[in-house]
């Protein structure tokens, strides 16, 4: 994807990109350097496409929506987890270091398998509606208070990009930790009246040191979340609720 017109007064951007192909045993991790003229309104997504089209055809990275919705283009941008499609190069210094998100299976270069991790988390925490009754397909859906729907929607905005996991010091040390994305999911289903689980059920899922009680409250997750989800509040709330259940 080319066609980004260089700005007449654009900076020369120096990209340092961590590259590695774990499928090839001979491929050792290395930093490749690329130079690119900055264009007006250029995002990292556009810059990476430009580099791939003109300088490094084998450079691998993920993207789908280009609008911060799919969560595919998460990467470390100058050390901070973020979405390439949502990051303007103008917001960064002229030297930009890119690396794959840590904590996930590396596919190649900047591409990591967040999907596999998220599926594992989802199965482990059973992040779906647990309904005792069969849905009545021919009748109207049970109404929900707009305020409650708003609260659920607020947590449902998570795009599972993996930035919170990459920013989580606890997860970097303990790979069984569920991370903020998992606890946010539990918070979301706990709110949902269609889910018949109670706190005893949720305690079984996150009431241990791999769950909410393992969180060291470093809050990297909250500070790097590209969707600005209230992860700090959610984790504290879940911790209080799980403790209250344990003290019953």
């Amino acid at each position: 994807m080319s066609g980004v017109a260089p700005d007449a007064k654009g900076r020369t951007l120096n990209f340092q990109i961590l590259r590695c192909n774990p499928q090839n045993e001979a491929s050792l991790p290395r930093i490749d350097h690329f130079e690119l003229e900055e264009a007006s309104g250029m995002t990292l997504f556009l810059a990476l496409n430009e580099i791939r089209d003109t300088q490094a055809p084998s450079l691998q990275f993920d993207f789908v929506c280009r609008a911060g919705i799919c969560g595919s283009c998460g990467m470390l941008i100058n050390g901070l987890p973020g979405l390439a499609c949502r990051t303007l190069t103008s917001s960064l210094p002229s030297t930009i270091t890119l690396a794959p998100l840590p904590g996930f299976e590396l596919i190649r270069d900047l591409s990591v398998n967040t999907g596999k991790w998220m599926r594992g988390m989802s199965e482990r925490l059973e992040t779906w509606i647990h309904d005792q009754e069969m849905p009545k397909l021919c009748s109207m859906e049970t109404p929900m208070e707009p305020e409650l729907a708003e609260q659920i929607y607020e947590l449902e905005r998570c795009i599972e990009c993996g930035c919170c996991i990459a920013g989580c010091g606890t997860y970097q040390m303990r790979e069984d930790f569920v991370g903020a994305v998992g606890m946010n999911q539990i918070g979301r289903f706990r709110l949902d009246p269609r889910d018949k689980r109670d706190d005893a059920d949720f305690y079984k899922l996150v009431g241990d040191d791999d769950g909410v009680f393992g969180c060291m409250t470093l809050l990297g997750c909250h500070d790097v979340c590209p969707k600005s989800l209230p992860l700090q509040t959610q984790i504290a709330f879940l911790r209080r609720k799980m403790l209250a259940h344990a003290l019953k």
Binding site: L76, G167, M173, G207, G214, L219, D223, Q232, A236, R239
Partner: protein, 271 residues
């Protein structure tokens, strides 16, 4: 029964026996013990810094803790009992906090690299907590054991002699830095961990908490340094007479532990 539990856990079937409440209780215990220790250190600093108000003020507080104003006689073992309770709480908190330490060199290397890449303030503060906590294992224990075994050696001259003539000032300086950094970070993290003082805007609430945290750190650090400097100065001035004890006549009812030959000054306390 206990053997049965060990067998079930050893085989890896403890989760099948029902989810344990222990992780929740340990998390609560770690928070509560940290809170109590941090609040204790505030009180401790205020009492110790009474030396800035004069030797008499510090002496009066020392005697109060020895029960003089209740029993009419000083009982330094009361201090030992209090120190013993603090020591137990300190060890309990340290044991619980150890659960969060990196448990292998690989984990340490990983989290260190994570910190240096991310450059995230709260992650960096956690490292300060780990390092200062580790230092306090030794510095805090040394101080507490000295106080436990020599409870009568607290006073304007006794403490100053220990600081200067006893060569303890470097230990106390390091302990001061470790305690004040660790304690204030601990309180800040407790607040965000449990969602206290969030207000209607949690991000703003956290910013305010962090400002308060640094304010508290600065205040107690300054107070601590001034206090230590005061003890060092008294220690230097008193070096020639090191071993003598400060002593006032308390309406003719002197504590047994205070040798009258060591009388340095006399102050009449209000009745």
């Amino acid at each position: 029964m206990k053997d049965n539990r060990s067998l079930i856990t050893g085989i890896g079937l403890d989760q099948c026996a029902g989810k344990s409440r222990l992780p929740a209780l340990l998390d609560l215990a770690q928070s509560l013990s940290g809170l109590l220790l941090a609040l204790f250190m505030w009180g401790h600093m205020f009492f110790v810094s009474s030396i800035l108000l004069g030797k008499e003020a510090m002496y009066t507080i020392t005697k109060a803790f020895e029960g003089y104003y209740i029993f009419g006689t000083s009982y330094p073992w009361i201090v030992s009992v209090a120190v013993f309770c603090v020591l137990i709480l300190f060890m309990f908190h340290a044991g619980l906090a150890l659960r969060k330490f990196p448990s292998s060199y690989q984990q340490y290397k990983t989290i260190l690299a994570h910190k240096s890449i991310l450059k995230h303030s709260d992650t960096s503060l956690w490292f300060v907590q780990v390092y200062t906590g580790f230092a306090m294992f030794f510095l805090g224990s040394a101080h507490l054991i000295i106080m436990l075994t020599h409870p009568a050696e607290i006073g304007p001259y006794a403490s100053s002699d220990r600081v200067w003539d006893g060569g303890m000032w470097p230990i106390y300086l390091l302990l001061l830095l470790a305690v004040e950094l660790h304690g204030s970070i601990d309180l800040y993290r407790l607040a965000v961990k449990w969602g206290w003082f969030q207000g209607s805007d949690p991000d703003a609430g956290r910013r305010h908490l962090k400002i308060a945290k640094w304010g508290i750190t600065g205040f107690f650090m300054l107070l601590g340094l001034l206090t230590l400097a005061a003890y060092i100065k008294i220690g230097i001035d008193h070096q020639a007479n090191a071993g003598e004890r400060y002593h006032v006549s308390l309406q003719g009812n002197l504590p047994d532990q205070m040798p009258t030959s060591a009388t340095v000054t006399t102050v009449r306390l209000p009745s």
